[in-house]
Structures are given as C-alpha cells and as structure tokens.
Amino acid sequence: MKMAEISKVLVEGDQALLKQFAEEVEANHQITIIKHPGRSLVMAKTRDSVSRAPFYIGEVLVSECTVSIDQVYGLGVVMGDEPEKSYHLAVVDAALLAKLPVTEQWMERLVGAKAALDEKRRWQHAQAAKTNVDFATVEEFGDDKR
C-alpha cells in the first residue's frame, strides 16, 4: 500500500487504529515534537474543465503537527480542529518514513481498515444509487401504458 493510500485509510478509517499505531511507536521510541499541533490553512487547488488549467477554489482549515523520531521528521495534516489526530498522524508518518520495526506489523491491520473504508464507500454509493432515475418523455410513458 502506498503512503498516500495509507494516509487516507488513517484519516478516514477507524480512529482507534490510528491511536493504537501512535501508541505502539510511543512505547518504543523517543518522540520529539518539532511543531506542536496547531491550526493552519491549506489552499485547495482544483482544475477548470474549460481551460484545463488549475485555479484556487478556497482554503481549508486544518490541524497540523510535526514530530521527529531518531532525526526523521513526520508530518500530520488533517482537515478540521483535530490536534490529537494531527499528532498521531505525524507520529505514524515519521515511523513509516524511518521504517521502524514496529511498522512491519501494521500492514495487515491497514489492509483490514482499507477494506472497511471501501465497504463504507460502497454503502454510500448504494445510498445515492437508490435515487437513480430513468426519465421518460410523456409519449414514451403513454407507449408503456399501452
């Protein structure tokens, strides 16, 4: 699983798992907080369908934290006022970048968390799909009635 995908599972998945990962790192390594969790902004850049060039749609309020483990920096950035979550994400990011032994046990649980997230997304898709519609013109509707 790529790092980008892991971060998605950790942000959107069960928060207990993220906390558990961070605690496993904390139990075995010295964590130095470089930048305490705090609020900041991320500018959202998106694409214009006509010109196919990017433009800024607006900013997003995020919580952000930076830590280091054995001189390896980890960054946690997450939407909303989530200081603890940004700290946990930073710890996990540093642990993964430092390839700490503790992370070797994580993949199976991450795969499980991703499967749960995928199922949630498929449920949400089914919820929207309940409103699928086939519009017919009045003439066609009349044909059906006949």
Partner: protein
Amino acid sequence: MAYVTVTGGQTAIQEAEKYVKYMRIGQAETILDLNAVQGQLRLLIDKVMSEGGLYAPDEAALALKQSEGDVMEAAFLLRAYRSTLPRTHVTSTIEPDDMRVIRRISSSFRELPGGQMLGPTVDYTHRLLRFSLRKESTSDVQEFLEQYLPNIAPAHTVTSMPKVVELLREQGMMEAKLADVDEEPFDITRERISYPAPRSARMQMLARGETGAMCALAYSSMRGYGIVHPTIGELRVGYVSMYVPHPFAPEDPDRALYIGEMLVTEVESINNFKQSNEGKPVMVLGYGLTIGQNELKAISMAILERSLDTVGTSPAQDEEFVLTHIDCVESSGFVSHLKMPHYVTFQSEIDRISQSQAHYDSKDKTSSIAKDAVTEGAMEHV
C-alpha cells in the same frame, strides 16, 4: 477622501453589545447547539463556507450562531478568522472528474453512461411548508432511520461516471478537450487584481462570490441582458479527495498526505455554438465549481464564466463589473460603512449647500452661475 476619528460612547457601545446578547439568547428556551446548526442547516453552512472562501464546517456553524443567522456577517467572520492563520500548504491539483458522486443529473441527455442520480434534492417534491416538523423529535429520527437504513446494502462496486460532455466530443459537437496545464494559478488572496484578469483569478473570484449577486447577474444574462442561456450538460454534487505534497518528497504523488474530502458542486453547461479553430461550428462549454452543495451558485458561475468571454455591453459581459460586485464581504462592507459616523463630511456638505443657496438667493435664479453652483453641490454628494 479624508477620515476623521470620532471618540466617545464607550459605555453605550458596551451596553449595545449586551443588548445584542440579550436579543440572541436572553429569551431563548434552549441554547442553539453547534452540532445542530452544522448538521441540520447544512446548505446554509455550505453557503457561508463558499462565500467566506474557507472550508471549515465547525467554524461556519459558530459564525452563524454568533451572527444570529446573518449569512454575510458569518462569511465576513470566517474571512476575518482565516486572515489570522498561516497558510502552510497548497493541495495537489484536485481533479473533479474523480469526485465521489452523490448526485448527478443532466438536462441535456436522458440516458447517460453511469445513469442519472437525483441524490439529496427537493427539486421534484412538493415544496410546501411541512407543519409536522414543528414537533419533530429524536424518536421520529430514530423511527426514520430504522426504516431507511436497512434498505441500503453496500454496492458491489462504485460505478464510474464519465463526463456527459465527452458524448458531445465523441460526436464532434464540442471542441476537443484541451491538454491539462499545470501552471501556477493567480491567487486573489495574495495578489492585487487588475483587469482584464487572468482566467484563474476570474474562476477564484466566482468560486467565492455571493450566491444572490451571482444569481441576479446570471438571470440578467438569461433574460436578454447578455447572450448566455445554457443547457445543463451535467450537474454533480460529491466529495473530492484532498492531498498535500509531502514536504520531504514533494514530487512524489505516492507520498502525498491525504487531509480529508470536501463536498463540492460542479456544473458543466452547454452553450450556443461558435466556430472552432478550423471554422467548424461547435458547442461551447461553461464551468462552475463551488464549495459545498450550492447548485444555484454553481449554475450561475457557469453562466457568468461563459458570459464574460462574450462581447457586448450588458453588465453580465463586463468582467470588472461582475467580479468587483459579487464579493459579499466587499459589497456588504462598503454599503454598511454608510452607518458609521460621517459627521465631518456631512457638515461640509451642509456648508456647501448653504453657500450654494446663498449664492442662488443673491442672483437671478435662472442664471447659469446659480445652476452650476447647485449642480456642483449635487455632483459632489454623488
């Protein structure tokens, strides 16, 4: 124009603040819970975030509570709050084509690859006051959920939905899709705008414009004060994933950090044809994309974006006119400033009109000098 500071009234101002607080909560039986505001007034929250230019549902709910439901004041509070925070990242380019769609309709084609999905909408229901909501309770909610949720089972797959305009492109009815460009966009929050504006600045200004102002201008174009009256090729509402490049591997998309997903509304409109570069008549795309579910604004954006590329003398075709008048913080701020003390400037107007009247009374009332003096006074006021 010069300004003169006024002072005094500190006690009165403090009492006015208390009076506002009394009006807000002094007679309330229950205090407005922010979770309730955020959860049950979602379209209002979306509007405040979109016009404030900041995706922050919790803070939008707080701003609405503080402003007693005044949308422009709430947008102003968000805009003011964002100015106190550092900007630490810019997302990787969000591709709206990859949206997790919850609503998708087309008024151009009945049958679309992937189908039409009404999603959360009241477009086809009776829009009458539902008096039963007066006594809506948590047990009603529970009862609804018990009936609604068991009927939804996870889909086997999430169906992908190609864009409707691709159908037109395949038939040669619309110009070919341009190649993606990855230039740095103009940022209206950091750079001073001048006209003609870069397209990215125009899109950013439209994206955080005020819904009512944009709707009015788009409506004017459709009514004949302009030439844009499109068909909706596709309207989508859904969630887009946001990633920031990892600072230690900024060029590697696989190392990007996911920060969350944002609800957006996207409109691709189909407009009257023009000649392509080869001279062939083709239809023209218009585009709107806004924060939150705000379909009126996204459609208006698509109309105005297109209208600003047409030539004419109508307000909706004038870039500076449209873009400088749709920002709710600027327009409401300027109109509201008239409430602030203007004692010195007004006293000077009194002095001028007194002089003009004295001059008028001392001369022949039909003389051009007297007329000029009065006209000058009136012009000064304007």
